[in-house]
C-alpha cells in the first residue's frame, strides 16, 4: 500500500466533492489508481481523456506510485 496526494480539477473536483485528498491504494501505477477512483466516485471521464501530473509536472500514466507523491488528474483543458 502507498499513500499519495490526489488533486482534482473542474468536473472531477465537482464529482468528487473535494479538490484534493490523501489516498491509500494498492494500485501499482497511476492508470490503475484512476480506474479505482473512477469506480469509487463514479467519475464520468474515461482515463483516456485525462492527463496526469506528478509532483507538478506532466507524467506518463505508467508511472509507479510512491509514498508522498502529488498526483493531479487533469480533465480536457479549455482555456481562452
Amino acid at each position: 500500500m502507498v499513500r499519495v496526494h490526489v488533486s482534482y480539477y473542474a468536473l472531477l473536483r465537482e464529482q468528487r466533492g473535494v479538490s484534493a485528498e490523501e489516498v491509500e491504494t494498492s494500485a501499482s501505477n497511476a492508470r490503475q489508481l484512476y480506474d479505482e477512483l473512477r469506480e469509487r466516485h463514479r467519475f464520468t471521464l474515461p482515463g483516456e481523456r485525462l492527463r496526469l501530473a506528478v509532483n507538478g509536472e506532466f507524467a506518463d500514466w505508467s508511472v509507479t506510485l510512491e509514498d508522498g507523491q502529488r498526483l493531479a488528474l487533469i480533465p480536457p483543458v479549455a482555456g481562452g
Binding site: P46, A53, P75, V77
Partner: protein
C-alpha cells in the same frame, strides 16, 4: 517572457507597456473576451479554474517555443481564473517583434497552444440555468450531455 495565472482583473495597458523595445516595429495582441453565446446557447457567466503551478510552467514553455520558432523580441500572456461576466477579459497575449509576420504568427501560436495544452478549465453558465465544463462531455455523463 512571462506567463501568469491571475485571479484578479487583467490590466492590458500595463501588460502591453512591458513589451516596449526600441528594436520592435510590430506588436500584436490577442484578447479573449467572454461572449454572450456559445454553440447556440446563451451564456450568462463563465468560470475559469486552473492548476496554477503547472499552468504557468506549461505556459512559459509555450512562450519559449514561440521565441525559438519566430523572431520575437518579447511575449507575455496572462489568463484569468474565477467568475467572469459578459465582455470580461479572460486571456491576454501580447507579442513584440521587429516585423509583423513574426508578431502575428507568434501571437497566434501562443494562444492556440495555450488553449490546447495549459491546464485551465472553463465552465459555462447558461441563461436557462444549466452549466457545463467545456470539453468534458461524455457519452454517458449526465452533467455533460452530448450536443
Amino acid at each position: 517572457m512571462d506567463f501568469r495565472i491571475s485571479s484578479e482583473p487583467l490590466d492590458p495597458a500595463g501588460l502591453k507597456a512591458r513589451l516596449a523595445d526600441p528594436r520592435a516595429g510590430a506588436c500584436v495582441v490577442f484578447e479573449g473576451w467572454v461572449r454572450q453565446n456559445n454553440e447556440g446557447r446563451e451564456v450568462s457567466a463563465l468560470e475559469y479554474e486552473a492548476y496554477p503551478e503547472l499552468a504557468e510552467k506549461e505556459g512559459r514553455r509555450i512562450l519559449e517555443e514561440a521565441k525559438q520558432r519566430f523572431s520575437l523580441l518579447g511575449a507575455s500572456a496572462v489568463h484569468r481564473t474565477g467568475k467572469l461576466g459578459l465582455g470580461d477579459l479572460a486571456v491576454w497575449v501580447g507579442v513584440a517583434a521587429a516585423h509583423r509576420d513574426a508578431a502575428f504568427e507568434a501571437c497566434r501560436y501562443i494562444i492556440d497552444e495555450t488553449k490546447a495544452r495549459v491546464p485551465i478549465w472553463k465552465k459555462e453558465h447558461y441563461l436557462e440555468g444549466e452549466s457545463q465544463w467545456i470539453n468534458c462531455a461524455t457519452r454517458s455523463g449526465s452533467e455533460n450531455p452530448p450536443r
